[in-house]
């Protein structure tokens, strides 16, 4: 039985890799993927706690998180496509105007 | 897990794998033969009696062909893609119950590789993973035809996975379980094709689309895209795609059989209730479900080939429109209908 701490550490590592990615990368899609990674690390923590506490709530939460992630992915990618169509770039440094 | 269980498990895997390979091989032969006859031709005739050795000849030919890796391809992904597809197709069969139980030498062997309680989800998960194979094959070839084929394939599979998934909700509602074995057992008396005719038809159509078969074979529409996502593949890599496609067909056939055609059950006769005393009798009773299952799978495969011989290809927008605007609402309608009927205990 792996102790829950290990799961949590893994979750934290993944989360911070995601954070780092968001800050480091300039490609909007990759940034978006990093956000997904962060969500998943959170999910891992949820599931680990659910297992640890013999509770189902964590899994239910993950279910909701996934739903939100799916919605977010749909809308986010829609935005990126719209952006690309207008600016011909997905580099966030180049997308620095509020309006165009 | 003792050693015997493990070895039996391994044996099952090997048998099923070899059966799949042979099935695929002779499925190609069957397809060519049936298509030929439907078009008033012979089909393969030269290699072996009525071309029976043709699949082997084809296999050898494919094996010995030059393996080309396109110059500007993304090498890793290019090589990876066919494996992804093949693995997904073959792995799906793991949860299919192709028979009841084989009792031999005192051992009771369930005729399935694994009974997972989310079996149906497992299959869906794998089929959604196989999308990667197609997409990457198309993308990594660095060829516009391949890319178009790959995009079409993934779009088509994603679109049709949805109505497919929804159309079996009815079955799941009736069964109350995601386990394949449970689903089969729930049809002991009456096949779900009777209880879920709409679901069956929807799933039938979706499964054809999932297999990328005519009339939904847009990903490899040769008149427009040369050969679709695998246009740049040759030799064994091409063979793997080929293998995967036909394995996928067999999986889909098994799925339809399991979900709607009662799996290994015979109509009106409950095989599992028979308990013959002789060894031979036991063997027959054990193997009969496999044959029943096989016949049903064969029928569905024949149906797929029959479709191919009959219908022309759809246009891409028609395909998408049909998936989203016809099948999707109908599947939802089927769920609602099933729910209502179940509430009033009519099913």
């Amino acid at each position: 039985m792996v102790p829950i701490e290990h799961y949590l550490v893994l979750s934290a590592v993944l989360f911070f890799i995601g954070v780092l990615g968001v800050f480091v990368r300039r490609n909007a899609i990759v940034i978006f993927m990093c956000i997904e990674l962060m969500l998943n690390s959170a999910n891992l923590a949820f599931i680990a706690f659910a297992r640890h506490l013999d509770s189902m709530d964590g899994q239910i939460f993950v279910f909701f998180v996934m739903t939100v992630a799916a919605a977010e992915a749909a809308v986010g990618l829609g935005i990126i496509i719209a952006l690309y169509r207008n600016r011909e770039t997905v580099n966030v440094d180049d997308i620095n105007l509020m309006k165009w | 897990m003792d050693l015997i269980t493990l070895s039996i498990m391994l044996l099952k895997i090997i048998v099923v794998f070899i059966a799949m390979l042979l099935g695929v091989a002779y499925l190609t032969w069957l397809e060519r033969k049936v298509l030929g006859h439907m078009q008033v031709r012979y089909g393969p005739m030269r290699v072996g009696w009525h071309g029976l050795l043709q699949p082997i000849a084809d296999g050898i030919k494919l094996f010995f062909k030059e393996d080309i890796v396109v110059a500007n391809a993304n090498k890793v992904i290019y090589v990876l893609a066919p494996f992804v597809v093949t693995v997904c197709a073959f792995a799906s069969f793991a949860v299919v119950p192709f028979g009841n139980e084989l009792t031999i030498f005192g051992q009771t062997i369930p005729l399935r590789i694994a009974d997972v309680n989310i079996g149906i989800l497992y299959i869906f998960a794998l089929s959604s993973l196989s999308v990667y194979g197609l997409t990457f094959a198309g993308w990594s070839s660095n060829n516009k035809y391949a890319l178009m084929g790959g995009l079409r394939a993934s779009a088509q599979m994603i679109s049709y996975e949805l109505p497919a998934g929804l159309s079996i909700i009815g079955v799941l509602m009736l069964t109350g379980s995601l386990s394949m074995v449970e689903i089969v057992n729930a049809q002991k008396d009456l096949w779900f094709i009777i209880k879920q005719p709409l679901g069956f038809i929807l799933f039938l159509i979706c499964s054809v689309a999932e297999c990328n078969r005519t009339p939904f074979d847009l990903p490899e529409a040769e008149s427009e895209l040369v050969a679709g996502f695998h246009v740049e593949y040759s030799s064994m890599k091409f063979a793997l795609f080929f293998l995967a496609e036909y394995a996928h067909m067999i999986v889909m056939a098994s799925l339809v059989t399991t979900l709607f055609l009662g799996g290994w059950h015979l109509p009106f006769i409950d095989i599992s209730s028979l308990h013959p005393t002789t060894l031979i009798g036991q063997l027959v009773v054990s193997l009969l479900p496999i044959c029943v299952f096989g016949v049903k799978v064969f029928c569905f495969l024949f149906f797929l080939i029959w479709l191919r011989a009959t219908y022309p290809r759809l246009r891409y927008d028609q395909l998408m429109k049909f998936g989203w605007k016809v099948l999707f609402p109908l599947a939802l309608f089927n769920i609602v209908l099933t729910a209502i009927l179940q509430i009033f205990n009519l099913l």
């Binding site: 978006f32 993927m33 659910a50 239910i60 799916a70 829609g78 | 993304n74 998960a125 993308w139």
Partner: protein, 169 residues
Amino acid sequence: MEAILFYGLAAIMVVSSLMVILRKNPVHSALFLVLTFLCLAVLYLLLNAQFIAAIQVIVYAGAIMVLFIFVIMLLNLESEVASKSSHGLQKFWAMAISIVLAISFVSIMTVRVFTGGKGDFSPEAVNAAGNSEVIGRLLFTEFLLPFEITSVLLLAAIIGAIVLAKKKL
């Protein structure tokens, strides 16, 4: 067995998630992310959450990531050129994150805060009833309101996505 599986998978996940942010080619990033998710799905299985594992594969790997890859291929993105401006920023954030990480490591490993009363859903109980069944029941009883709200969210997302992505309405 379980431990080996966990550490192996954890290693793969860390490496592949690092690759997600290190590879220049967004397609590679996406691929590694898929690998991470698949490993995560296995971890879920280890954590006795079969349904979530399946959903993880179907939704994350099968749908969301496919969408990502779709978009990447559709936009035919070039490999990213490292921008100089982010360099200083990177150092700063690496520093910041490592500090936060270190703090969390220490806190997680040393301060055993995660103790509490056990719930009703022991693995045995869940397996007896069926994982999906349990989740289904909970969703339609205790969590009915959030569940319904989610559907509204999804509807909004569908409409939003269409509005955003469609060239001409």
